[in-house]
């Protein structure tokens, strides 16, 4: 099973020390600017002068580049190809691929769109790499997010690998009693039905046990909750949030004003 159930990389850096909410502001501001700024090269520049240096500053450069190369680039590359081929704009045909025309305009358009998506996904990746989920949730709970809400989010994040493991066990158990789980597609689909019962019932029993277990530990207690981790929220954080909010508002007004 996975020992690590989150993307978070524990390091000491300025970005790690920022308050989670400040980082959310940062991600949102980056996305807004990338999508709303009229200048063609804005998203590219953001990657060059903001996201990449930030990943190095956060000392997660290696992990960031790995995620970018393995996950983000393939997905964004696929988007780019789709838009380059299927976007019927422009006159200047660069080359033809069977019946598909690729124009200079569609290429430009696809490229900038792909870069915008790249900014969005990589900013978010950087956020996940530098923010511990329970830190994020403690902070949001402290700011008034209901405790039940953060419990549901975190436990769901953690429980997915559990359900996967349970499915595996159930399959193994039933296969050992002669159930077909391999072979022809229809046969396989049919053999999934007996898996559902144990999986769902098992999960329900587990939910009940889990419910009484957290109840035994005062989950529904009416007293004011405290938090193990001290989540820093410095004056730098507050100033940064204001600055980022101003940037976000400026890009929105600029966009509205130009259109």
């Amino acid at each position: 099973m996975h020992e690590r159930l989150s993307f978070h990389i524990k390091r000491d850096s300025a970005l790690h020390r920022l308050n989670p909410l400040t980082k959310i502001f940062l991600v949102l501001a980056l996305i807004l600017v990338a999508f709303l700024n009229p200048w063609y090269w804005t998203p590219h520049l953001l990657v060059l002068i903001a996201i990449t240096p930030l990943s190095l500053l956060a000392r997660v450069g290696a992990e960031y580049f790995r995620a970018a190369a393995r996950l983000i680039l393939p997905a964004v590359g696929f988007l780019f190809l789709m838009q380059a081929f299927f976007q019927p704009v422009g006159e200047e045909i660069l080359f033809q691929f069977y019946f598909l025309d690729v124009t200079r305009e569609s290429l430009m358009f696809a490229f900038s769109n792909a870069m915008r998506i790249f900014v969005m996904v990589s900013a978010f990746t950087l956020f996940l790499l530098t923010t511990h989920p329970s830190e994020l949730m403690s902070d949001l709970t402290r700011r008034g997010l209901p405790g039940q809400f953060s419990y549901v989010i975190i436990s769901t994040l953690q429980i997915l690998p559990q359900i996967q493991a349970r499915a595996q066990t159930t399959i193994a158990a039933q296969r050992s009693r002669g159930l077909e789980t391999e072979g022809h597609f229809i046969k396989r689909a049919g053999s999934l039905i007996p898996l559902v019962g144990p999986l769902v019932l098992g999960s329900l029993v587990e939910v009940e046990e889990r419910a009484i277990a957290i109840e035994a530990r005062g989950f529904t207690s009416k007293s004011l909750k405290t938090s193990l981790h001290d989540i820093p929220d410095s004056s730098i954080d507050k100033a940064l949030r204001w600055a980022l909010a101003v940037i976000a508002i400026l890009s929105i007004t600029l966009k509205l004003w130009l259109s």
Partner: protein, 284 residues
Amino acid sequence: MAFVNLQNVTYQYPLTKSPVLQDITLQIEEGEFVAIIGPNGAGKSTLCYALGGFVPHFFKGEFSGMVEVAGKKSSDATLDEWVLTVGLAFQNPFNQISGAKYTVFEEIAFGLENTGVPREEMKSRVEQAMAQTGITDLSDRSPYTLSGGQQQRVALTSILVMQPRLLVLDEPTSQLDPIGTREVFGVIRAMAERGMTVVMAEHKMEWIAQFADRVIALKDGATLLEGTPQEVLTSDLLTENGFGISRYTSVAREARRRKRWRADVPLPVTLDQAAEGFAFTPPS
């Protein structure tokens, strides 16, 4: 007035046809360590639920009688108040982790966060509890990747750290090896010495004999026997009613039948008692 006071507790789950607990009356003094024994299905876990307030607050069904701890009745309290007085560690350790924490340390702090313990006190209490149960080295591990025995210790620590006045443990050593079992019994004994009241459902007779103050034998939801470990664990009624007994007791009983155990020496429960008893029995 006893610290724990059960009066005619009778309970039936919504789907069962007959009562699972039948007219149980029981008094426990503060600082006492009481073990509950009984075959599978005897109602040990249900009795633990009744002490922990989950019967009748969580499990519906027909409940009558009274459960009183530290002068308060469970039926007068809400569950979230009751768990502050009575801490219950459940039989199955696997579903006791909160599922919302990434390390064992955070997991154990969960109950203290919920009940609003200040951060510095929280940290020192968690560290202290982990040292007591010997899991300090698991501090940074993910609760999901522990072995059964380790999870069981984490579950026990998570309740201990909340410092309940009555600690109820449902088979807390079922996943533990002999060394782990001995350690856990030692920790619980020490808690009782310091004034915590302990009720523990358990099958391991030899350990009960060494550590518990009193034993209650449950059969079909009713009290069959009650007394000191020596009295209860060597009673002939146990084998007649399908209880498992210590192997030392059964060996000595067989020896007594063959006149190789002196009639005036009580039957043993532990290895030491057996060795001593055999030493005093002259070969005939």
